[in-house]
Symmetry: C3
Subunit: 176 residues, 3 copies
């Protein structure tokens, strides 16, 4: 049996080559799942005022441009969680829901695209008002402590061009 | 050591057998994640009028039966994205949010089940109206260009039997 | 080449060691994805009154503490699905949407954290009311029949402390 066989295997060396290929494929899945899991951490962390958990999702010098305001670094993120208007939303009843993202990893960086919603408790309606719905772009970097957000940008889906531009600039295209 | 050992391994041949088993398990995960990721592409693509990206999610002769209308093939999908009523929703502010799906792969086809929501900007309420909420069945086929939608069917969760039938016909059962 | 090489490989024994490492990493991904997929099964199962599917997500003696009520064991789950108020919600039009979860596996148990929403059809508003939004903790156990819910707990995100406590007690922290 030789390299030219259909399977490309030789009894002696093929297993090691196949192992390397498997490791690369596995790492790609781990990256995608790790980022997806961290994005699912955001909402429950801010809705429970867990500022340290929220901050630890970002790189030390990461940024969150929420459109209405910009929060710089982990200190900026902590302040966002622990001050108004955010704290007022939480104490009145709210939910920050991040939709299942399209994650695209390229080596040691990644881009994720999704929607996010901010629901506010509305006693008069015996329910919740969907107050803000935004287009999201999350930029990620691989670090010794796992994947970290280097920049998150939101733009409201209010009919304006900005949200559409953000989505178009961020979405990876499927194969034709 | 022989095949009858607890681990079923022999020093010479076992690694190759274990490799094949790993490759099959890895492919199963890749399939599930690839489909999940493509489904997360749909909403951001239609909300940004990225008709080519939306169309490329479908097979050339795929179909989208949205209940209120049926869109045939990639040309049908492109037209859906770029004409009314969809274009009007987008220019008025909207979000198409696809929930995290149950994906079940069977060889070269797959079925995914989820909810989808269409939120419309409502200036008078300073927020968004949850206008349509539907039961979703997505049928997928493996192609040389990745997984493609062969048929997507939505039915409104309006209390009628159709949505329940769609879910029941599509859901895979957990082991007892 | 010896064990002290950078790659830690020897030609004879390394592939088997690397295989074991790959198998462990693969199992970790399979666990995370299996739980995520089962959580995506919940909403479509209850919205289609598929009581057997809902019940099969839980362990025989599992529990669902929904705050407004507690459902014990698979029989309790079946009754929840097939009686009021749930049945009335479904026949009036509703959607139970479970957000993409943060899943943390620890050996043969796991904890998942997410939001869930209950949307009710509101004909007068030509849309849906977001009626209940809750903080969720799902506890899982590995069984011979796959992962099963041993306990699910929901608390309304109404501004009170309970939902925040549930999230804080359940969220895994990212690495600093």
């Amino acid at each position: 049996m030789s390299r030219s066989d259909q399977t490309g295997q030789s009894p002696d060396e093929a297993p090691v080559d196949r192992l390397a290929a498997l490791e690369a494929r596995l790492t790609a899945l781990e990256d995608q799942l790790a980022i997806t899991r961290l994005m699912a951490t955001y909402g429950p962390s801010v809705d429970s005022l867990s500022a340290e958990i929220t901050a630890a999702l970002w790189a030390e010098d990461g940024c969150y441009d929420a459109g209405v305001d910009v929060f710089d670094g982990r200190d900026g993120l902590r302040r966002m969680v622990l001050t108004d208007p955010h704290q007022g939303f939480v104490l009145g009843g709210c939910a920050h829901i991040v939709s299942a993202p399209q994650v695209t990893v390229d080596g040691d960086t990644a881009v994720a695209v999704c929607h996010s919603q901010l629901l506010l408790r509305d006693e008069s309606a015996d329910g919740y008002r969907v107050w803000r719905v935004t287009a999201n772009r999350w930029e990620w970097a691989r670090t010794p402590n796992g994947w970290k957000v280097t920049a998150r940008t939101n733009r409201p889906l209010d009919g304006g061009e900005e949200a559409r531009e953000l989505f178009r600039a961020s979405l990876a295209e499927p194969e034709e």
